[in-house]
Amino acid sequence: MSSVNIQTEKKFSLQTFFFQWEWLLLLIFVMINIINAHLSPYYLNTFTLLDATMGFLDKAFIALPMAFVIIFGDIDISVGSTVALSSVVMAVLYNAGVPMYLAMLACLSVGLICGFINGILIVKFKELSAIIVTLSTMILYRGIAYIILENQAAGGFPQWFSFLGWGYIKGIPFILALFAVTALVFAFLLHKTTFGRKVYAIGNNAVASRFSGVKVDKMKVIVFTLTGFMTAVASLFLTSKMGSTRPNIASGYELDAIAMVVLGGVSTSGGKGRMIGVILSIFIVGLLRYGLGLINVSSQIVLIIIGLLLIVSVMISSLNIRMGKSKE
């Protein structure tokens, strides 16, 4: 047999190394901080910066699992409504005399269930595709929230509950600390475990994965359920930040979360993207918004800037994908 020797060492190529999407993100990240610091005297100040994170990290908890969903090549636009529903349920239960920690548990389970329902519908009705299913449940879930609370607000939570959104441990915002841990967990889950490997496999070629014995449907249900759960976590933080809740909270969260993920270099066509990217982009978007706010740029301009950032950066990334390197 004409035996060709197959190498097993990855040849280290500077070019491949430096043409990684994350470098660009890092660059943007640094630039944004420099610019902000330059433009606003209040920006460069650890306290301010830490405080700033409180403003956007609640969405970030949704972005993490959303990355998994998008790597599948799917999408979940029902998250905003899930936030509202789970939050409303928690508030109503608490006002009905249920102990707070149980109410919080209920909040998480509601999120879990919403996600699970999405997952089941998606695998049972493949021809519908995730976007259709979650489009419908988006309207449905918020609708239920309206039915429950009508035009009322509910709140009056115990004092300690506000700790989630506003509290510090050793000068570090609690939400930041928790996010750091969660992000780490998700990163490992995606990159170092068979679970993550299967996620990528399904995102690349669901059929081949199934033929290779990957339980595609089970995986999808799990991931969507996880998304629902993390959404409920975000809901906890948001509710705590607002001290009360209404059925119309968190509108448009889905697009924010998706934007964070996509900017992070996760391709909505599935199979590509890394956690570092997502985490970086979360902070890019968040701090950019915050910085522009500090110099009181009008929200219209902010809209435009964020939009362009999204497009331009993704444009660049698709360029360096063309440099003929695979991603993971």
């Binding site: 004409s2 197959i6 679970f195 690349n204 070629n205 994965s209 033929f211 290779s212 014995g213 199979g271």
Partner: protein
């Protein structure tokens, strides 16, 4: 006016890291059928993609009817009157067969630019009948099996009424009878002055059809011979660069005890009351016409599809298989017929592809061990003799045949008792074929039980201990390798039930 309708000189094409073509020359006369042969990865497909303008050559000239031409994109070649059937079907699943056939050159009413559906449907139906297809021109493409789609591809090329038609392994998923139809058409085309470039790994194709054969090896031009002035051995030597003493290894195996028993299996619309048994160390050939239901049957056993009736017994006890993972747990492996859609993740390197079906082997409670992964990948890739630079090469960069070897390697990761191979040698060169056959025999000797779906008479006859013939979803004949013969099989595959 040169005597060649198409002539290529010193064509060189390099892909990142791979030299796919190295100074290749080629000449095609009007009204000749020119076979192009060579190992997997020799560069045949790339070569024709150069002709059709999918790829552009780094060096070299192309002459059409004596004048030099530049072919920048598929449209240019179309305009010149070059049509191609690609190795990997390029169909539109959501469109009707008619549209697939006429896409790009539809019949339109000259004044209103309106599409003439009736006319196209009728014409398409003509082509299909001519090809002996068993489906209508209004069928949706995605309703067809791989082989049926191949037939549409051929019709597509015919409809372009081109002067040069290129066929990249058109017969690889056709059965003997369908190949016959194809031969007939090809000849009538030739007689009407059309030239045909014909790529195939099947020698009978070449002998039956081609007037002249050109061989590529390791992306280089080796030579061109008249078909009847070159001997089989020389040709193989030219292609593989070494002798292949015999394609089918000696089959002296001791058949063990019965391991698989299928009883009265049926699925509405696909197959009905299928019963057969399989013994350890046995190679069971499963053949029949296209659409006979072999794939569906095997996929049902493997848990891809459900079945409505019947029972499956494994080592005597009945088993419930709802998902491929169940089947793999029980030790049943399946090599799918469509390696690109079902077998591989093209964007991934070999190592990940190979390990995908055995993630538990390379992980401890959920955590991946990439070193182990690479070790396994390397071992198996060598075992099936994949032609690649490193285990990190992307599957999509491999040639058709090498991709197939990788899929075989995937099977060997899991520890199996029963292996089902669906068209395992489809589009695989002689070298690789004999390699795969050797592997199969080894496995059988080690006690694996093997079911081999194949539409190729020689290998069915050459490899099988026992042969099942299917027709329209039923088993119409069972015979041992000894008593089997081409005639008996064909008769069983084609005969009409009164």
């Amino acid at each position: 006016m040169s005597k060649y309708i198409l002539e290529l000189k010193g064509i060189t094409k390099t892909f990142p890291g791979v030299k796919a073509l190295d100074n290749v020359c080629f000449q095609l006369k009007p009204g000749e059928i020119h076979a192009l042969m060579g190992e997997n990865g020799a560069g045949k497909s790339t070569f024709i993609k150069i002709i059709t303008g999918v790829h552009q050559p780094d060096e070299g000239e192309i002459y059409f009817k004596g004048e030099q031409v530049v072919i920048d994109n598929p449209n240019d070649s179309k305009k010149l009157g070059i049509a191609a059937i690609y190795q990997h079907a390029t169909s539109y699943p959501d469109l009707s067969v008619t549209e697939n056939i006429f896409i790009g050159h539809e019949y339109i009413c000259p004044q209103t630019k309106r599409l003439l559906w009736k006319k196209m449907n009728a014409k398409a139906q003509e082509y299909l009948d001519e090809l002996g297809a068993n489906f209508e021109s209004t069928t949706m493409m995605k309703a067809l099996s791989v082989a049926q789609q191949q037939i549409v591809e051929i019709a597509k090329a015919l409809s372009a009424n081109a002067e040069v038609i290129i066929m990249d392994e058109p017969t690889s998923s056709l059965t003997t009878s369908e190949s016959e139809d194809l031969y007939r058409i090809a000849e009538s085309l030739r007689d009407s002055g059309t030239s045909i470039i014909f790529i195939s790994h099947r020698f009978e194709d070449m002998y039956r059809l081609a007037d002249i054969v050109t061989v590529l090896r390791d992306s280089k031009y080796i030579g061109t011979w008249g078909v009847n002035e070159v001997s089989n051995e020389d040709l193989i030597k030219a292609m593989v660069g070494r002798e292949i003493t015999q394609l089918f290894p000696e089959k002296k195996r001791v058949l063990g005890k019965e391991i698989l028993k299928v009883h009265g299996l049926g699925k509405i619309g696909y197959f009905s009351d299928i019963s057969f048994t399989l013994r350890k160390g046995e190679i069971l050939g499963l053949t029949g016409l296209v659409g006979a239901g072999r794939t569906e049957l095997c996929q049902a056993i493997f848990g891809i599809h459900s079945y409505d009736k019947g029972h499956i017994y494994l080592e005597g006890s009945e088993v419930e298989i709802n998902h491929p993972s169940d089947a793999m747990q029980l030790g049943i492996g399946y090599l799918p017929e469509d390696r690109q859609a079902q077998g591989l993740i093209l964007e991934w390197g070999l190592e990940k592809n190979i390990s995908l079906s055995a993630l538990d082997k390379i992980s401890r409670n959920g955590w991946l061990n990439k070193k182990e992964e690479i070790k396994i990948a390397k071992r198996l890739a060598d075992k099936v003799n994949v032609k690649a630079r490193s285990v990190f090469d992307l599957a999509k960069q491999l040639s058709g045949g090498n991709q197939q070897k990788v899929v075989v390697a995937k099977l060997l990761t899991a520890d199996l008792k029963i292996i089902i191979l669906d068209e395992p040698t489809k589009g695989v060169d002689v070298g690789a074929k004999s390699a795969i056959f050797e592997i199969m025999t080894d496995l059988a000797v080690q006690g694996y039980a093997i079911i081999m779906i194949s539409s190729e008479m020689p290998e069915i006859l050459g490899m099988s201990d026992r042969i099942l013939v299917m027709r329209e979803g039923r088993i119409t004949a069972e015979m041992t390798g000894e008593e089997a013969s081409q005639e008996r099989i064909l008769e069983a595959a084609m005969k009409k039930t009164a």
